[in-house]
């Protein structure tokens, strides 16, 4: 089957609960090889829970059902025996403060990551090439706070890419950075992903950002994926009311749409 060969990540009917509260309800979506998919939703929509489930984390929300197919390998979300992250998925946290140990030198942290991923502590040429591609030089014995946040974030991306993943998950890639640096980081990540055919999954509350970069977009609200499809089609004709709300409010020029909804309401 052709679709099987193209598809990299496929999540079917994932549900998760915290105690009795349902936080993810029958979530399905998929990511093709080399594709960029965005998951958009407000706070409390279940975006982070979805990410944690993908990473194989079972707390605080416990997945109770669903099927994950990654790179041809299937696993049940619900079965408690298998935990841990599927090989080939890498994750970049939202905030560099959460990604680094502030008391350890960057070079040490990089080498530890490299050792965990590749088994050797050597600072190989391929690693140097990777850092160069992200616009980073040598470490000079620096600690995290001695680098700018943009550089820290790019180094986190680099660490995620050390294991040569097929899928890179970016959690709110722009919210902790100012626009100049955020654009820079995204540009380097996009260039790398394009060159090495890495799929991207961007999780964000900002539909405008998704509109700019993603091939396909899933809109989440209260634990459900309410819409999933081509970003362009979705922006043109959102099907659900929440989708319309998000599309109308993605930019700061919302009064034009507002007049339209207002006249509808008046009728």
């Amino acid at each position: 089957m052709q679709t099987e060969a193209k598809s990299l990540l496929n999540v079917q009917n994932l549900s998760a609960r915290i105690g009795r509260q349902v936080v993810l309800d029958d979530v399905s979506f998929d990511v093709d090889k080399g594709e960029c998919v965005a998951i958009v939703g407000g706070s409390g929509a279940g975006k982070s829970t979805l990410l944690r489930s993908l990473m194989g984390l079972r707390r605080p929300a416990e997945p109770v059902g669903g099927l994950l197919t990654f790179d041809g390998v299937k696993r049940e979300f619900g079965s408690p025996g298998r935990t841990g992250k599927p090989k080939g998925i890498a994750y970049v946290p939202q905030n560099p403060d959460h990604g680094f140990d502030p008391l350890k030198r960057l070079e040490w942290q990089w080498r530890q990551t490299a050792r965990a991923v590749t088994g050797s502590k050597d600072f190989s040429t391929s690693q140097q090439v990777l850092l160069k591609e992200l616009g980073l030089g040598s470490f000079h014995g620096r600690f995290p706070h001695q680098w700018s946040r943009g550089m820290q974030q790019r180094l986190l991306v680099g660490m995620a890419l050390l294991g040569e993943p097929n899928l890179l998950i970016l959690d709110e890639p722009t919210s902790a950075l100012d626009p100049l640096i955020a654009a820079q980081v995204l540009r380097s990540v996009m260039a790398y992903a394009h060159k090495h055919d890495v799929a991207l999954l961007i999780v964000t509350h900002d539909l405008a950002l998704a509109a700019q970069h993603a091939n396909r977009t899933a809109i989440m609200t209260s634990g459900q994926v309410v819409e999933f499809g081509e970003t362009r089609a979705l922006l043109r004709e959102p099907e659900t009311t929440y989708g319309q709300l998000l599309v109308n409010h993605r930019n700061w020029n919302f009064s034009a749409h507002q007049k339209a909804t207002n006249s509808v309401a008046a009728e």
Binding site: G42, G44, D178, P179, L180, A208, H249, N253, F254
Partner: protein
């Protein structure tokens, strides 16, 4: 209403702010934009007398009053008379142990209102920021981020300030709530004729809200223009880069309509 000339700030021999000047008329909004570490927050603090800055002149003209020279005013105290702050993270700005109504009421503690008057004032302030009156009894942990930020707005508003300082008021909120709260801010600003100084990262918001722009980079002023001019013909290359970056991230559309405070701008 607030006029700053050649403000300088040095800490530990390092220049933090260099020759910052601006002049903000009553009822207008100044947006301060710049990357992290560019001195935005230091500028807010310096203007409030919380940092040992030097300046050629710094005058503040309160409503129905003579201009005050702040050098005199700051002997033994800080801040600007009749101004209030709204901070970035409502959950750390509000006392987690106090009901929202108590936090809001503390803002007018000095007016020594009778308890009934105070209650009425709190309800009115909550109504102004479109929160139901029963929110007064809730604690910060029992409301959403958007509601908590509205409560912070009410806490500033209840004192009928002339001037409100905002430090990244929307960045902790999601996209839809941001726009709703911006519309509320606009509405109360026009209704009570307040002047806003807003520090922000979000150029899209600045384009939709600001009258004046002040761009800082490494403590120096990169642009001090009207918002309209800034987005059409920015003063420096750095500003052009900044605008291009915001466009690249999708946060700044080609055409921006100013936030209106009319009810129509609120969808739900």
């Amino acid at each position: 209403m607030l006029r700053v000339e050649k403000l300088q700030l040095r800490l530990h021999g390092k220049p933090i702010l260099e020759e910052v000047s601006f002049d903000l008329p009553r009822g207008k909004t100044l947006c301060i934009v710049g990357e992290s570490g560019s001195g935005k927050s230091s500028l807010l603090r310096a203007v409030n007398g919380l940092m040992p800055a030097t300046f050629d002149s710094l005058t503040f003209r309160p409503k129905n009053g003579r201009p005050i020279s702040l050098k005199e005013y700051w002997k033994g105290r800080a801040g600007l008379p009749g101004s209030r702050w709204v901070m970035q993270d409502p959950l750390s700005a509000l006392n987690p142990k106090l009901a929202l109504g108590v936090s809001i009421g503390e803002s007018v503690f000095a007016q020594k209102l009778k308890s009934l008057e105070l209650k009425a004032a709190i309800s009115a302030a909550l109504a102004d920021v479109e929160l139901p009156a029963e929110m007064a009894k809730r604690r910060p942990a029992q409301v959403s981020m958007g509601q908590a930020q509205r409560a912070c707005l009410a806490r500033a508003l209840i004192a009928r300030p002339d001037l409100v300082f905002f430090d990244e008021p929307l960045s902790a909120l999601d996209a839809i709530v941001q726009k709703q709260i911006a519309a509320t801010m606009r509405r109360i600003q026009t209704r009570f004729d307040m002047t806003f100084v807003i520090v922000t990262h979000d150029l899209g918001f600045a384009a939709a809200y600001a009258d004046q722009m002040l761009v800082l980079r490494g403590g120096k002023v990169e642009a001090n223009q009207s918002a309209e001019m800034f987005f059409q013909a920015p003063e420096s290359d750095y500003c052009r880069e900044l605008i291009a970056a915001a466009r690249e991230l999708g946060g700044l559309p080609e055409t921006v309509v100013q936030v209106s405070g009319s009810k129509a701008a609120i969808p739900c």
